[in-house]
């Protein structure tokens, strides 16, 4: 997040970050909405119909950005979780938690659009293609992270446990990726492969890039919103500490005999 460089330390405290995030959300959210509209417009009305696939190909404008976001956000999430764990930075840990759901959602979206696309083009909803399979595994990794955090009530423990898992997952992602590629190519030849990249018409490329930018802005906005919710939840508990916790320990006696 670019703005985080300014005054990092001040805003590293969740309580200070909360209002800042509130101010930032519209700055990302509104452009995201505008770009979505623009991208979809160009994608659906300006870009020419593909001569092979007809209009079905237009799913690409959602499918590809979603697939990319799913992968990027996992890396981002693992990094935030790791930072939060190593430096005991609560905000970073909360960021990871907030990112996980968005990332899982994008991954799911790419799976869903992919199989919607598969039906008209390949005639089946699903084939065990390398790329599709590794996207599926990525979704499993997200789900593991989310379930683990959901199963732990103590937020501190949830953060740290999540960090261990995310980092282990991060080391594994490339291994998984390559193993899946091997598995698919070394078997009985290529079954059905993703279409070769068609030479893109400029409006298609533009639409794709605009959609990608929209997805980024949307992710930032939604993650900030989610972060605000998490901060509110946790600081609410801490807030009660301040009011309820007025009772402190007393030594009624401390005697030596």
């Amino acid at each position: 997040m670019p703005n985080r460089k300014i005054n990092w330390y001040k805003y590293a405290a969740p309580a200070n970050f909360y209002p800042l995030a509130g101010k930032l959300i519209p700055w990302f959210g509104i452009p995201a909405a505008l770009l979505f509209v623009a991208g979809l417009y160009i994608g659906f009305f300006v870009a020419p119909t593909d001569f092979q696939q007809g209009d079905a190909y237009r799913i690409i404008f959602i499918h590809v950005p979603a697939a990319w976001m799913g992968m990027f956000l996992y890396i981002l999430m693992a990094l935030y979780a790791g930072v939060g764990w190593a430096f005991n930075a609560r905000l970073a840990s909360m960021m990871a938690t907030a990112l996980s759901i968005t990332g899982a959602m994008f991954t799911f979206l790419s799976l869903a659009t992919g199989s919607l696309w598969g039906k008209p083009t390949w005639g089946t909803w699903w084939v065990w293609d390398a790329r599709m399979t590794s996207t599926l595994i990525l979704l499993f990794l997200y789900i593991g992270f989310i379930s683990l955090q959901a199963a732990i009530d103590d937020p501190r423990r949830a953060d740290r446990a999540g960090a261990v898992l995310a980092l282990v997952g991060l080391i594994n992602v490339p291994i998984i990726y390559f193993s899946v590629q091997w598995w698919n190519t070394l078997h009985q030849g290529a079954t059905i492969r993703l279409l070769n990249k068609p030479t893109m018409a400029p409006p298609m490329l533009a639409a794709m890039l605009i959609m990608l930018a929209a997805c980024w802005l949307y992710s930032i906005a939604i993650v900030l919103m989610r972060l605000r919710c998490i901060i509110l939840e946790r600081e609410h508990e801490a807030g009660r500490t301040l009011t309820l916790g007025a009772k402190t320990a007393q030594f009624s006696r401390m005697e030596s005999i």
């Binding site: 909803w125 078997h187 009985q188």
Partner: protein, 219 residues
């Protein structure tokens, strides 16, 4: 009371909803492991699909069964339940029912989606769902015997627990064969009726065995 037991177990399941969801995801992941380890060839996958889905269902139910009594045993609530003025038979039935609702029903609902990944036809998907609907209660019922027996970990009980596992086999075979038959285009009804018979049988006898096993384990 019957409804208190079910209610309690459902509340507990809700508290542990991550647990319930993870049983479901576990099922999904296990099913997806097979294509990864075998090959992505759709024809081959179609022919192994029934076996794969059934083994995964069995595993998922087995994993969630382990906890059927052991949590209650460890924290002493099982003793308390045994001392309530309710017929133990009903209590066991209630617990098994709650477990089935929570752990197996979502799995049965998920199975058709997984079937699509293996390229099964619509007709076959229906048979798959029905066979699971008939078979999973049997898994829960028989599994409850094993869960009760392994509680106290007494020498004899443990041996019998090993005997419970083979009892799953008929369920697996009938279930998988019914789906196979439907893939091959023949009528799966014979297998499904057999499954139904096994269900009726275990509905009557399994809770008794579980009650007996519980009493032995708690002593």
């Amino acid at each position: 009371m019957f409804r208190w037991i079910i209610r309690r177990d459902l509340i507990l399941a809700w508290r542990r909803r991550a647990d319930v969801l993870s049983t479901l995801f576990f099922f999904v992941i296990v099913v997806s492991l097979f294509p990864l380890s075998i090959s992505p060839d759709p024809r081959l996958l179609k022919s192994i699909a029934p076996g794969v889905v059934w083994v995964a269902a069995l595993l998922a139910s087995m994993l969630s069964l382990g906890r059927l009594f052991s949590n209650d045993y460890v924290d002493g609530t099982l003793e308390q339940i045994l001392l309530t003025p309710q017929p133990l038979y009903l209590i066991v039935l209630g617990k098994v029912l709650a477990q089935w609702l929570v752990a197996e029903v979502p799995l049965v609902l998920m199975a058709p989606i997984l079937g699509v990944q293996f390229g099964l036809s619509q007709n076959t998907l229906v048979v798959l769902t029905i066979s699971l609907l008939l078979g999973t209660p049997v898994l829960s019922l028989i599994g409850s015997i094993g869960a009760a027996l392994t509680l106290g970990l007494r020498g004899s009980g443990v041996l019998v627990a090993l005997l419970v596992l083979p009892l799953y086999i008929p369920v697996l075979i009938f279930g998988a064969l019914a789906v196979d038959a439907s893939i091959a285009g023949s009528n799966p009804q014979a297998h499904l009726s057999l499954l139904g018979a096994v269900l009726a049988l275990s509905l009557v006898f399994a809770p008794w065995a579980t009650c007996a096993a519980l009493r032995i384990s708690v002593e």
